[in-house]
């Protein structure tokens, strides 16, 4: 097995999807000749031709609109939104149109589209590149939202997303693109959408996260063990819509304490939803309130302040200590 970075794992998935099924098309800004601003599609246009991998005009709503029209005609479009903050330009086409297509046509048409978008903080991007806007989509019925936390996860989840029958927003944290390698099978494989994964076993507290914050959660869990002798279980949500509550509730029945860590600003987001659902499904298994560790309710800051703004391992550790005292 090869040791791949996440961007290499994503490219491997895209390439294998194109090979496997000629209905798969890849398009977006700079994805063709240039191979994408992060090289996710490097070499794919040259290999599969301009009819399958192509550059579009710089207009996100038409990128998403092409995907809608192509998908109702039987194609499997993988549309790239160059940076997730640009998605506001395409909100109607994604949430107002594609996500509702099956519903509004009573099942006659549906939109098996993947919208890939890089996002996430800590890499010194300009405004509206790093923002965690996934909550807007998680609140919208009809679209699935997937956020991988590693190269292995990224490849398997992306292949599932491409061959899924519903529209899927696939969010790629920029900090994960090249920060580490792990073993990724060369062959085609899929990982299930809508299923969370226990990435570290523990018995004292369940720490729930997704995306790059899974790395932070794992490090905090190690620190908690070393410094406080605590055994923290870490769950990677992988799909934030629809949520897999079974994995979470099963874990809480064991640990009786839980905390949610997210990179998105605090209110009305994934952490809020997870906590509400824990209240509905596992309240009497808890020994204390479920806390959330998040940045404050501001927009994503300018680069000079992002380190201070993003949740740190130490902050998570402090919150774990507080949760254990409750």
């Amino acid at each position: 097995m090869a040791q791949l970075t996440m961007i290499e794992a994503i490219r491997s998935a895209l390439s294998q999807a194109l090979e496997k099924d000629e209905r798969v098309l890849i398009f977006g800004e700079d994805v063709g000749v240039s191979g994408g601003v992060f090289r996710a599609t490097d070499g794919l246009m040259q290999r599969f031709g301009e009819e399958r991998v192509f550059d579009t005009p710089l207009a996100e709503s038409s990128i998403a609109g092409l995907a809608t029209g192509l998908s109702i005609q039987g194609f499997l479009p993988v549309a790239e939104i160059q940076f997730f903050g640009f998605v506001f330009e395409a909100m109607d086409e994604i949430i107002g149109q594609a996500a509702r297509m099956r519903f509004r046509t009573g099942g006659r048409f549906h939109c098996p589209i993947v919208y890939r978008a890089p996002f996430g903080g800590g890499v010194k991007t300009p405004e509206l590149h790093a923002d965690s806007l996934e909550g807007l989509f998680a609140q919208s019925p009809g679209i699935k939202v997937v956020v991988p936390s590693s190269p292995y996860e990224a490849k398997g989840l992306l292949l599932s997303a491409i061959f899924d029958e519903d529209p899927v927003l696939f969010l790629e944290h920029m900090k994960l693109y090249r920060s580490f390698r792990e073993e990724v099978p060369e062959e085609f494989y899929t990982l299930p959408l809508g299923e969370a994964k226990v990435v570290r076993e523990g018995k004292d507290l369940t720490l729930i996260s997704y995306g790059a914050m899974v790395r932070t959660a794992l490090k905090s869990a190690e620190m908690a063990e070393k410094e406080q002798g605590l055994s923290v279980e870490v769950i990677d949500l992988r799909t934030i819509s629809p949520l897999d509550m079974e994995t979470i509730v099963t874990s809480i029945r064991k640990t009786h304490r839980a905390m949610v860590l997210q990179e998105a600003q605090r209110s009305a987001g994934v952490a809020a939803e997870v906590i509400a659902r824990i209240n509905e499904e596992a309240l009497y298994d808890l020994e204390g309130p479920v806390l959330r560790v998040t940045p404050p309710d501001t927009v994503y800051p300018f680069t000079l302040f992002e380190k201070e703004w993003l949740p740190t391992e130490q902050l998570v550790l402090d919150q774990i200590s507080q949760a254990m005292q409750a």
């Binding site: 092409l66 029209g69 107002g96 519903f103 099942g107 048409f109 699935k144």
Partner: protein, 361 residues
């Protein structure tokens, strides 16, 4: 803020005048006598259906309804120039085109009621349900047209939009991308002079909407939208060009809606004069085309009565069929959110207190 006098031009392409006289004998489109008669039958049927629907809406027998009288030439003429496997993307008023393209009339009434199954377009009928978001259909039409081009199918996508819709970002994005890839797309603008209450002069400083095509490097033409043959001819040429690989065409049809924007409380008296309405009614598409057909011996009083009787019967039968349709259910709503219902949604349906299979009309 002063606004210039409305442009009331009749378009660059005209085939018959208000008296039904052929303007130039060489300007007739390629069309059979059967098709000529069919255009009249459909326009007349649509006019009678519209009058009935307006009455029924006032009586509370229908729900959402956007009147179409005045626009029959632009609507019927454009759809009639397509093949059944061409794909149309209608806007909210473009119900007649979708129906003449194969959407059953009773389903159009279900759609008006607010019943989900109204939009369940039958297999083999190539239309989307009417679009509510102004302009969204244009970028989607580019995608549909791209699918045809990639599969090398001789088919076109036709998106309908209004004068107000040409102000939307999606209108520009859609025509732009269609131009880049030379997609088999027809952008049919029905310029009926008002977007609800706002006149076209307040939408844009450009005098002819079809000139917007130049910004995308595509062909734009303006036709007399009260002349069904002019509309038919323009769309027929655009279809032939698109199927030969010549790319997209924008067509602006100058027309007018006689009624309000919708039956939901709009009062045209607040934003347009009786005089203007009178001017447009004097150019009525049915009146002039009827005269044209009569002069060719293709239309008789008997034909008129036959279509009237047929329309009366079929429109009533379709409403009856819609009224008898099974009630909408929570299960149907929830089942169609995803390919497979997520566990949490299933739990919500089960816990809703509503029987998943029960519902209200």
């Amino acid at each position: 803020m002063s606004i210039e006098t409305p442009v009331r031009a009749q378009g660059d392409l005209r085939v018959i005048d208000e008296e039904g006289q052929l303007i130039d004998p060489n300007s007739l489109p390629e069309i059979t006598n059967e098709k000529l008669t069919q255009l009249m039958e459909r326009m007349l049927f649509t006019r009678l259906w519209d009058e009935r629907a307006i009455k029924w809406t006032r009586q509370g027998k229908l729900g959402f309804y956007a009147p179409v009288s005045g626009q029959e030439a632009a609507m019927i003429g454009s759809e009639a120039a397509l093949s059944p496997d061409d794909f149309i993307l209608p806007s909210y008023r473009d119900v007649p085109q979708a129906v003449w393209h194969g959407w059953p009339l009773y389903q159009a009434f279900l759609y008006s009621f607010g019943h989900q199954q109204g939009n369940q377009i039958p297999e083999g009928v190539h239309t989307l349900p009417p679009q509510i978001i102004i302009g969204a259909q244009v970028v989607q039409a580019a995608g549909v047209a791209m699918a045809f081009k990639l599969r090398k199918e001789k088919r076109v996508a036709l998106a309908y939009i209004g004068d107000g819709g040409t102000s939307q970002g999606d209108f520009y994005e859609g025509m732009n991308v269609a131009g880049v890839y030379r997609l088999p797309l027809i952008l049919m603008i029905q310029n009926n002079q008002f977007a609800i209450s706002v006149p076209v002069e307040k939408q844009t400083a450009v005098k002819e909407l079809a000139k917007k095509a130049e910004a995308a490097g595509i062909e734009g033409k303006r036709v007399d939208g009260m002349d069904v043959l002019a509309v038919y001819k323009a769309v027929q040429e655009a279809v032939q060009k698109a199927k030969a690989g010549g790319g997209p065409t924008m067509i602006e049809a100058l027309t007018f809606r006689y009624g309000p924007h919708t039956m939901s409380g709009d009062d045209p008296g607040r934003y347009r004069t009786k005089e203007l309405e009178h001017d447009w009614r004097a150019r009525d598409p049915l009146v002039r085309f009827r005269k044209f057909l009569q002069s060719k011996g293709l239309w008789t009083e008997e034909a008129e009565q036959r279509v009237e009787a047929k329309a009366k019967e079929e429109v009533q039968a379709s409403l009856d069929q819609a009224n008898k349709y099974p009630a909408m259910t929570l299960a149907s709503l929830a089942n169609h959110m995803y390919g497979k219902m997520p566990r949490e949604l299933a739990r919500q349906v089960a816990g809703s207190g509503l029987n998943a299979d029960s519902g209200v009309k």
